[in-house]
């Protein structure tokens, strides 16, 4: 896995969409891979919550015949937390303040998810 490329994708997304405060990437089982988060956030706990939240949302979508799951967004009075599945291997977390345009976030995230998925599944010469 190219660590630098993953970090660049995460930082690029934060610079592209006004209002993103934190991002993180974790394996589908909730094991943290990378975190660009403020000190006030526990990234390990957040990754576990995102894995559980996406799992629940995926089962809800299946049980209610809503089709393939796209993302989950939790809205609060001080902003929102969006969880995206990265294929079936990983997940991405984006936190934003109340100024963030969530529709713009979804548009900007889709191509980034594809690239992050490729980065996670690629193998370097050392096999890491």
């Amino acid at each position: 896995m190219d660590h630098e490329a993953l970090a660049l994708e995460m930082r690029g997304l934060r610079e592209q969409v006004t209002g993103i405060t934190d991002t993180a990437v974790a394996a589908a089982d909730g094991l943290l891979i990378a975190a660009d988060t403020a000190d006030s956030i526990d990234p390990e706990g957040l990754a576990a919550l995102a894995a559980a939240g996406l799992g629940l949302a995926r089962r809800t979508a299946q049980a209610t015949a809503r089709g393939a799951l796209r993302q989950t967004v939790t809205y609060g009075s001080h902003g929102c937390a969006a969880f995206y599945a990265v294929g079936d291997t990983a997940l991405m977390i984006v936190l934003g303040d109340e100024g963030m345009d969530v529709d713009r976030l979804h548009l900007a995230t889709q191509p980034a998810l594809d690239r992050i998925g490729s980065i996670l599944m690629s193998r370097t010469a050392e096999g890491v």
Partner: protein, 274 residues
């Protein structure tokens, strides 16, 4: 044509037409101008906190109280009657908050990058409209003046660029704004982010950041902190294992060779038994 000129011309055209609707500005941070009879009544942008964020972040109203006000107002985005009736703010104070947020939003839009402008009919009800619309010319002039004033400061700061850190060891009297900035500046937040975090106008925070950087109370790290990345011990794997590959097809047997029969070799060597 510069982005600013494009916006100024588009707003002037909306004014001439007496548009009641929206002018959507694409770019970063971009935004939406809400107009009534050609006058600007509200501006929404990710670049500056609106009246709702200002009231919530300043602690004047809690999130639960806000939700109750919205329910009470039948789902309206801006529960102005309830805000005043419950005594969370006075009517005059609320008008000032809305007017300042409107000017701050225009400043944030023109301080950023403007890619295009598109006018259209009104969509959702505008959030926190000012009772009497503002002329776009006056709003743009005011925002330009602020942008020019910012550029003349000894340490010019852009609302979306610098991500400062406090300089440790400073002991001296600080204003409430400076205390808030020092408490929340973590090397990750821009002036715009700090404005949202502290519930203040983005122009006010940007100017204060510029002054504090010039005075040595804040510093900008040369590069952002690296993002820690680690590969899971067993690598990144698919949640559902791929289906096993189908078995390879049986190679077709030669069609024109004679089939062996049991005992055939014995008969060839020893002749047919009688």
């Amino acid at each position: 044509m510069s982005g600013y000129d494009l916006l100024a011309r588009s707003l002037a055209a909306c004014g001439r037409e007496g548009l009641t609707g929206e002018l959507r500005v694409s770019g970063v941070p971009g935004g939406t101008f809400h107009l009534r009879n050609g006058l600007v009544i509200a501006v929404e942008t990710p670049g500056a906190p609106g009246p709702e964020a200002l009231l919530l972040r300043s602690g004047r109203v809690t999130g639960e109280q806000w939700a109750a006000l919205v329910r009470e107002a039948g789902g309206k985005r801006w529960p102005v009657t309830g805000l005043i009736a419950h005594g969370y703010t006075g009517a005059a104070q609320l008008r000032v908050v809305c007017a300042m947020a409107l000017q701050d939003a225009v400043f944030a839009v023109i301080a950023g990058r403007i890619d295009g402008c598109e006018s259209g009919p009104a969509g959702l009800e505008p959030p926190a409209p000012v009772p009497v619309g503002e002329s776009s010319v006056r709003l743009l002039e005011e925002a330009s003046r602020k942008l020019a004033a910012l550029a003349t400061l000894p340490y010019p700061v852009h609302p979306d660029r610098e991500r400062p850190l406090p300089v440790l060891g400073f002991e001296g009297p600080l204003t409430e704004l400076r205390r808030d900035v020092i408490a929340h500046a973590d090397g990750r937040r821009t002036a715009r982010d700090l404005a949202f975090r502290t519930g203040r106008g983005v122009y006010t925070v940007t100017v204060e950041l510029a002054r504090m950087l010039a005075e040595g109370l804040l510093t900008c790290p040369p590069r952002p902190a690296p993002i820690p990345v680690r590969t899971p011990p067993e690598g990144v794997r698919h949640r559902t294992p791929p289906l096993p590959a189908p078995p390879p097809p049986e190679p077709p047997g030669p069609a024109d060779l004679p089939r062996r029969r049991p005992g055939g070799f014995f008969r060839l060597r020893n002749g047919t038994t009688r």
